[in-house]
């Protein structure tokens, strides 16, 4: 039976050989004549706090939950312009593809209460170019209207070329949405899912949705031609999001990010260091983060992957730790739990 799965088309350019090759960033790095990034422009934190907060269902008060997380992590947004970047991909009832609108709205309310001058929601879906269809069918539009929150279609916003802060994609610059660049505080709000090309998609991969489709097309094929791990790294190095809130209440396992199965985890993860948040999420779903090329490489200049440098707040990791089903390609990166 046909299913929503056009995200598979994103990898249309990849032969199996190229796909395996995409998992070997250090080789690429070794082959480059210019440094991939200027280490003086990056600073990996000594310790990265990550909060794991219980949310057994979408009936919890997310504004309260996320507000507690912001206070726990000492987030200060007074007078700042906050952009929330959810993951809106496809609409299909009964699936766990998108960041739940209730989590998005909860975050918007929490940041407003924390003193943000403005909170906006921005997304540029990567294969569905019809944002009107996505935001209305998912219910996000009604919530935004009720709370008088602006939605920015990042696919069709004005753009400005920005020099890339790292050069894994072998590109000098990329067009990015002006509303994103104007924001003082960018929050990646992914749905936690397994991903058939990247292993897992969470805070860092979610930035694909900031690349404007009206410039690069649908899918944003340039990101796949240049390499998915490479693109994740360059986008995170350049945009440098300030915070992450992961919707891991109901996640996706198996053949994600679209065709997998919903899997309840009952959690929201939060933190300033997106690498650390994603590494923690990977461990929770039973994947070894150091075996995911973009996380392994990110640990050199963007953030922490090492458990010893990640300071967990809220619930212990053991409360949520499990093992998500993954496609065969990624079975070799399963975490060996002691």
């Amino acid at each position: 039976m046909p299913r929503w799965s056009s995200d598979r088309a994103l990898g249309a350019h990849l032969t199996r050989r190229e796909f395996v090759g995409a998992l070997s960033i250090p080789v690429l790095a070794a082959g480059c004549s210019r440094p991939l990034y200027d280490p003086r422009r990056f600073s990996v934190p000594g310790r990265s706090p990550v909060a794991l907060l219980p949310a057994p269902s979408y009936e919890v008060d997310f504004s309260d939950l996320i507000g507690r997380g912001l206070r726990e992590l000492g987030v200060e947004v007074t007078g700042r312009r906050v952009l929330l970047k959810p993951n809106m991909v496809e609409y299909e009832p009964g699936t766990a593809i998108n960041t739940n609108p209730l989590v998005v709205i909860g975050a918007a309310v929490a940041f407003s209460r924390a003193g943000a001058a403005e909170v906006i929601v921005g997304e540029g879906p990567g294969h569905r170019r019809d944002s009107e269809y996505l935001v209305t069918r998912t219910g996000l539009f009604d919530h935004l209207r009720e709370h008088r929150i602006r939605f920015i279609d990042l696919n069709q916003d004005d753009v400005r070329y920005v020099p890339l802060e790292s050069r894994y994609m072998r590109l000098e610059r990329l067009a990015l949405p002006v509303e994103l660049l104007r924001s003082d505080f960018i929050v990646s709000m992914p749905k936690l899912k397994t991903h058939h090309w990247a292993g897992m998609t969470a805070s860092m991969k979610n930035l694909f949705g900031t690349v404007p489709g009206a410039v690069y097309g649908w899918p944003k094929n340039i990101l796949h031609v240049r390499g998915i791990p490479e693109s994740i790294l360059d986008l995170n190095a350049t945009i440098r999001p300030h915070f992450s809130i992961v919707d891991a209440v109901t996640c996706m396992e198996g053949d994600g990010p679209i065709m997998g199965r919903p899997r309840s985890l009952g959690m929201v993860a939060m933190g300033r260091d997106l690498t650390a948040v994603d590494a923690t999420c990977a461990r929770i779903i039973g994947l070894e983060p150091r075996q995911m090329p973009y996380l392994a490489e990110a640990s050199k200049y963007l953030g922490n992957v090492d458990e010893k440098r990640i300071e967990l707040r809220g619930e212990p990791i053991g409360r949520f730790a499990t093992s998500f089903d993954v496609i065969d390609t990624f079975k070799s990166i399963r975490l060996r739990r002691s």
């Binding site: 039976m1 056009s6 170019r129 019809d130 539009f141 069709q156 094929n221």
Partner: protein, 286 residues
């Protein structure tokens, strides 16, 4: 006599027009090629100056997605349709624009068992250096077919042929089109209404082909399944071009108008006005 019930759409577009004569996707944003083309088509014949399109910046014969940007091949195809329908001669010469787009090809890839498709087919990508996708291929194919009636000698039949082969190759098993692939890693992909509609517009002269017949049936059965200005408008336009009943998407589109205006996307509004305007859709009809 313009339909008075569509006046809010017309006013919305008039109010959102930039001083340069173009439209951004949203009010107050920089003029972009795609919404500008649809805005001109929607308001065409109402005293609207089309100078903005006549002077739209180009590089090497390809229209830029925006001033200072790069060419977008799919939108170049839409612009060729608008130039033809509005009777505008671009300052670079329409023949140059038609010729240039025929030089652009999506990248070819090695065959792979992951994708059951012919990766050697090189139709049109969104941007140079990437793969061929359904939507840019369909817009460019339709544009070439439209221009073939006035400048047949300028049309490279091999480009028309490869584009048709790609669309047939990428059709989903039960008809309709996803945005680029139909069968990946053993999974059948599901078609979308907008891509199916654009592909059917491009293939409206190939209705005897079994792929087109299946896709036509898909669209007839799903024309109102995706509620948005863009999806419903394209479905309405495709069904009308194929001489099929279009009452369903027409009514659904009218119901959608308050949401379209609330969201405020110029392209969605312009496409809706163009589709509901009824008589001026010759731009897309072969």
């Amino acid at each position: 006599m313009p339909d008075p019930s569509l006046e809010p759409l017309r006013q919305f577009l008039r109010d959102g027009r930039n001083p340069d004569g173009g439209w951004g996707y949203y009010r107050g944003k920089t003029s972009r090629l795609e919404p500008t083309c649809w805005g001109l088509l929607a308001l065409g014949g109402e005293g609207t100056s089309a100078d903005v399109l006549r002077r739209w910046p180009a590089n090497a014969g390809l229209l830029l997605e925006r001033d200072g940007g790069e060419p977008n091949v799919g939108f170049h195809g839409v612009a060729l349709l608008a130039l033809r329908a509005l009777g505008i001669e671009h300052e670079k010469g329409n023949a140059v624009l038609v010729s240039s787009v025929q030089q652009i090809k999506g990248i070819a890839l090695e065959p792979t068992p992951l994708f059951k498709q012919d990766n050697s087919l090189q139709a049109w990508p969104w941007v140079a250096g990437t793969f061929s996708w359904v939507e840019p291929t369909a817009w460019c194919l339709l544009a070439l077919k439209r221009w073939a009636t006035t400048m047949p000698a300028a049309i490279d039949r091999s480009r028309v042929d490869v584009a048709e082969r790609l669309l047939i190759d990428r059709c989903c098993r039960d008809g309709g089109w996803n945005y680029g692939n139909a069968d990946v890693m053993g999974q059948q992909l599901k078609p979308f209404v907008p891509t199916t509609s654009v592909a059917l517009l491009a293939m409206q002269d190939r209705t005897s082909h079994p792929v087109i017949q299946r896709s036509r049936q898909y669209l007839e059965g799903h024309a109102t399944a995706e509620r948005s200005g863009v999806a419903l408008s394209l479905a309405l336009l495709a069904l009308r071009a194929l001489h099929l009943a279009a009452d369903g998407p027409r009514e659904a589109l009218r119901e959608q108008l308050p949401t379209i205006l609330a969201i405020g996307n110029h392209m969605s509004a312009a496409l809706s006005l163009y589709a509901l305007g009824g008589e001026r859709d010759a731009a897309l009809v072969l």
